[in-house]
Symmetry: C2
Subunit: 235 residues, 2 copies
């Protein structure tokens, strides 16, 4: 993993399986990674702990955590205002907009990544959105990403100075199985990541929320042993 040697890229890092894989992919493409996480009033801090573990494990150039009080504006299960659904079928998961939706989340996160990119003189931003597994989130679709990129180039000095800001979405068309396989090939240690919507403070996963079900299925279909620490199973 490189540190400050390559071209700089901002990588949005939640500490989950997808964004952790993206950090490894950005490194593999020769970028110096500036990882950006958000403390936006998550119910538990397991996600941020995982992000810090991943940033250290993958030796990023810098890891910034922005504290963002979205709770005053938003109502979402992920910010403690609702119930996390459990044991839903994969069909149910794919239907409609999930209750765990945070209003305009990727827009807000990408906007702050853009601010950091401009400040660093970086033109590349990576985000681990996936159009297949999370079709219910409007801000995970390619048409959203393209529109954000167009806007970003009109919004900034960098975008209007002849350089071009690019939003990279290396996972957008990959299945969870393909993502896991790609990450393993790049040496990613998935045991330190946290994907669960209802994780314990130590990072142990519930095994039954939408995020856990999709993750488990990824390891299963990818033919990779699942290194996730699940509650109950390991006690």
């Amino acid at each position: 993993m490189s540190e400050g040697t390559g071209k700089k890229a901002i990588v949005l890092l939640s500490g989950g399986l997808d964004s952790t894989t993206v950090v490894a992919m950005a490194h593999a493409q020769g970028y110096a990674v500036y990882a950006l996480s958000f403390d936006y009033g998550q119910v538990h801090k397991a996600e941020l702990h995982a992000a810090a573990r991943v940033a250290k494990s993958q030796n990023v150039a810098q890891h910034a955590i922005i504290k963002l009080d979205l709770a005053a504006l938003a109502h979402s299960a992920l910010t403690g205002k609702g119930d996390v659904p459990k044991d839903r079928s994969l069909e149910e998961i794919g239907e409609g907009v999930p209750v765990t939706y945070v209003p305009a989340r990727n827009t807000v996160f990408l906007s702050l990544a853009l601010a950091w990119a401009e400040s660093l003189g970086a033109t590349d931003i990576f985000i681990g959105v996936n159009a297949l597994d999370y079709s219910g989130y409007p801000d995970c679709r390619p048409e959203f990403i393209h529109a954000f990129e167009t806007m970003a180039n009109l919004a900034t000095k960098i975008g209007t100075d002849g350089q071009r800001i690019t939003i990279h979405t290396p996972l957008i068309s990959m299945t969870k199985a393909q993502i896991v396989q790609a990450g393993i090939a790049l040496g990613v240690d998935y045991s330190i990541t946290t994907t669960c919507y209802d994780a314990s403070d130590d990072g142990a996963a519930c095994g039954s929320c939408d995020a856990c079900l999709l993750r488990r299925r990824g390891f299963e279909e990818g033919g990779i042993a699942d290194p996730t620490l699940y509650r109950g199973l390991t006690e």
Copy 2:
């Protein structure tokens, strides 16, 4: 001024002349105003104090202040990392990107306004950008606003549910003189607003930074007595 009776609109409110006028315009159009300000590490708090005075004076439905630590990412005079230029000619003010530029600021502010809009079920966002006086800011241009609006409609449940999010920029083609005249006609009390980049904690303006010069010129050309409290002149 209405409170909660009309259709809801988010209005970005800095506490300066422009955004204060926009609050009055949104009210005049029948909107219930949800005013949004940001505590983003400004050198002084005069701006936020002015925003609170304006919100109260204009009787908005709600005034939210989001604390946003951009200082870790951005380098700008407005966040205490440089010098505020003084006594520049109007030609100098219009040239290039000002040193007071905050990276991706309007993108970040509009994104958080979008999050609040979606949370409230509102489809209207007002921002007091002005393409004439501040040509150096790429994110004050109509093409940026249009691109943001397109992106916003792809980013959100509201935008993809058949409703349409609109970014209103009522000041975009107005001169400062026209803005002041429109505000006076709507009963705006400009004595409680703070525009200065270098204001004292009590809101007293320096009279010589770019923002003060443009504001003074607006009152002068609009034929309106300038109610601004300037340092020195009033001591």
